[in-house]
């Protein structure tokens, strides 16, 4: 079953090319093909999760070159989980894009969508730092196209900032990778971890500097303070399905910190073991506070949801910064929740915006939207989940992270920041909800479009993950604990990657 790892990367790439040619067959063909492929990816990632639960690392040697020399793809429980989240989110976003005919607004939406998935899956499955850079570029290039899809002045402006900041990030990535290669002479993550553990003392400073530079790069992707300024504008200005899909993009940064830093600066790294975690924890706390202020100050619903994404990323950074298997398990639970809920909230904001006509999503009194009671209930459900109030999954995620923080010497700072930020977010969301649904002006003619039921289906589908995570909280936390134990078991990872033999040719 080695091939499953490679297929999860190859299928979106092939689908992207096929969709490019399917354009001649019309939009309907492209839509059904894309939907089919995304559904296939969902089933494939479920299979991958099942396969990863055996606890064995599935290593795929590209071109049959053994580990430190060739490029490897590694499927473990963490990457299987990330691929599963990606394909579920992609299904919701694609469904919404088709239901609202958003893909009609420009050409190549479906092609870019699949290439984006190609980059994401590749980044989650690769076991090589330089290959991670290449997949980052693939997913970024596709995201540039998707971000600008549909056009518009403000979107172009936000897109320009997004592209420039990510190009700077790519340059820094190469500097960091180059410095690491210069110091340890390898690019394979497992081999790098093994080499760093025996590195001479005079090289440690260079390795630490390169590691922190790499943290800056992943911080740009994850929108960590002070590198988050691009996020709210880009997410608020792009279209809803793309913003929903981008909810996973910040998690690529989180994943990369867990995978790369967690592996090469794991407990075997001697003096450098976990030297980066205080940075992640401290910057996470600052990000969370600033994100809560941003949620308070937002002028429109989409901007507010963008800041909520930032807050969820900050919470994840705190979880990663705590650096214990228990904290990582809580972080992964929160990651499943926050990615899918944030995607759903972006789509919901678009539905509300469409219903309000010229007022769009701005926080100002406007005529009542069609089906206000139904949409309002969904909004309240999403707001409760997003801000982390009981009884939905956001609350459990935060409680688990705080419980894992009990041992930490910064516990009271973490407790204070998380609680204050949650309070600010609850106030802001309550204000947003009352403004959007209560302070309405009576009119004879409804201003916006009628409710698109199929589009709302996508929102409800994504938000449904929250009650599922609560009802099945026990098996899900057991699963995330299993994942985090495997992530912390670096020795097995290194052993698995470096000892995989090349397959023999069958004569």
């Amino acid at each position: 079953m080695m091939q499953l790892t490679a297929w999860a990367v190859l299928l979106p790439l092939i689908a992207g090319f096929v969709l490019l040619f399917a354009r001649m067959g019309g939009l309907r063909l492209q839509r059904s093909l894309n939907l089919l492929v995304v559904l296939g990816l969902v089933f494939m990632s479920i299979e991958m999760v099942k396969l990863s639960l055996t606890g064995v690392h599935q290593v795929y040697l590209a071109g049959n070159w053994i580990a430190p020399f060739g490029i490897v793809f590694v499927l473990d429980q963490l990457s299987a989980l990330m691929v599963l989240i990606t394909s579920l989110l992609a299904l919701g976003a694609l469904w919404y894009a088709i239901a609202t005919k958003y893909d009609k607004q420009g050409s190549h939406f479906h092609v870019l969508f699949q290439l984006q998935l190609f980059g994401l899956n590749g980044a989650f499955l690769t076991g090589d730092v330089f290959n991670l850079f290449v997949f980052f570029e693939v997913l970024l290039l596709a995201s540039y196209g998707l971000l600008l899809h549909g056009g518009g002045r403000l979107r172009t402006k936000a897109g320009l900032h997004y592209v420039v900041i990510n190009l700077i990030g790519s340059t820094l990535f190469l500097f960091a990778v180059g410095a690491l290669y210069g110091a340890v002479g390898t690019l394979n993550i497992a081999d790098m971890a093994a080499k760093i553990s025996v590195a001479p003392a005079e090289d440690l400073g260079l390795i630490a500097a390169a590691g922190l530079l790499l943290l800056v790069v992943f911080g740009v992707k994850a929108a960590m303070f002070p590198l988050y300024l691009w996020l709210p504008n880009a997410y608020a200005q792009t279209s809803a399905p793309v913003a929903a899909l981008f909810a996973i993009m910040t998690k690529v940064g989180i994943y990369s910190i867990i995978r790369v830093h967690g592996t090469i600066f794991g407990e075997q790294a001697g003096d450098l073991a976990s030297f980066y975690t205080p940075w992640v924890l401290g910057l996470g706390l600052i990000t969370l506070l600033l994100a809560a202020f941003g949620v308070m100050a937002a002028r429109g619903l989409r901007e507010q949801v963008a800041y909520l994404v930032l807050a969820s990323v900050a919470t994840l950074l705190i979880g990663v910064g705590l650096n214990s298997p228990q904290a990582l398990a809580a972080t992964l639970y929160y990651l499943i929740h926050s990615t899918l809920i944030a995607g759903g909230m972006f789509l919901l904001a678009d539905i509300i915006s469409r219903g309000r006509g010229v007022h769009e999503d701005r926080f100002e009194p406007a005529p009542i939207i069609p089906n206000a009671i139904l949409i309002g209930s969904v909004f309240m459900f999403g707001a409760v989940a997003m801000t982390g109030m009981p009884p939905l999954s956001g609350f459990f995620g935060k409680v688990l992270i705080l419980a894992a923080a009990l041992e930490n010497s910064w516990f009271f700072a973490i407790l204070a920041v998380v609680l204050v930020a949650s309070l600010l977010m609850i106030i802001a969301m309550a204000r947003a909800g009352s403004l959007l649904f209560y302070r309405t002006q009576p009119v004879d003619v409804l201003p916006g479009e009628p409710l698109n039921v199929a589009a709302l289906g996508a929102v409800i589908g994504l938000l449904a993950i929250s009650p599922i995570l609560v009802i099945f909280a026990n098996p899900v936390t057991a699963y995330t604990e299993l994942v985090s134990i495997q992530v912390f078991d670096n020795a097995t990872y290194i052993e698995a990657v470096l000892s995989t033999p090349a397959t023999q040719r069958v004569e």
Binding site: L154, T156, S170, T171, V177, G178
Partner: protein, 128 residues
């Protein structure tokens, strides 16, 4: 030779950073290009500086140049080239849609005005 390469990378990086911090799109594009050059030379240098050594297996060779950074630089050049081309097109699009080439769009803090008003304003600015 090491100090020459080090100074070269340093000068290109600082020039790139300076240009990237400019307010108009064209210097930013140039700055990013310079940064890409700097990082390419840096990647090369990370394979250690050698002269006259083959990179592929040669029975007569006394030693080898590290071939991996060369492959990395090749990839990095291709990616940087594609990204620069994309950025130039995007900068042109932004110039066309916003009426000026400021990275932050309008420098008059008025984001909601129509493009005609902006171009008339720019004309007035040019006259005065």
């Amino acid at each position: 030779m090491e100090w020459l390469i080090a100074i070269l990378i340093g000068v290109m990086t600082s020039a790139g950073v300076y240009l990237t911090l400019r307010a108009r799109t064209f210097p930013v594009v140039l700055g990013l290009t310079l940064l890409a050059y700097a990082v390419n030379v840096f990647l090369f240098a990370m394979g250690r500086l050698t002269i006259g050594q083959p990179a592929v297996i040669d029975a007569a060779a006394a030693g080898y140049a590290d071939p991996l950074p060369q492959a990395l630089v090749l990839t990095a050049i291709v990616i940087a080239f594609g990204m620069t081309a994309f950025l130039i097109v995007l900068a042109l699009k932004a110039r066309g849609e916003m009426g000026n080439d400021h990275v932050d769009g309008l420098h008059l803090a008025d984001d909601e005005r129509l493009p005609e008003q902006i171009s008339s304003h720019n004309n007035q600015e040019a006259k005065s």
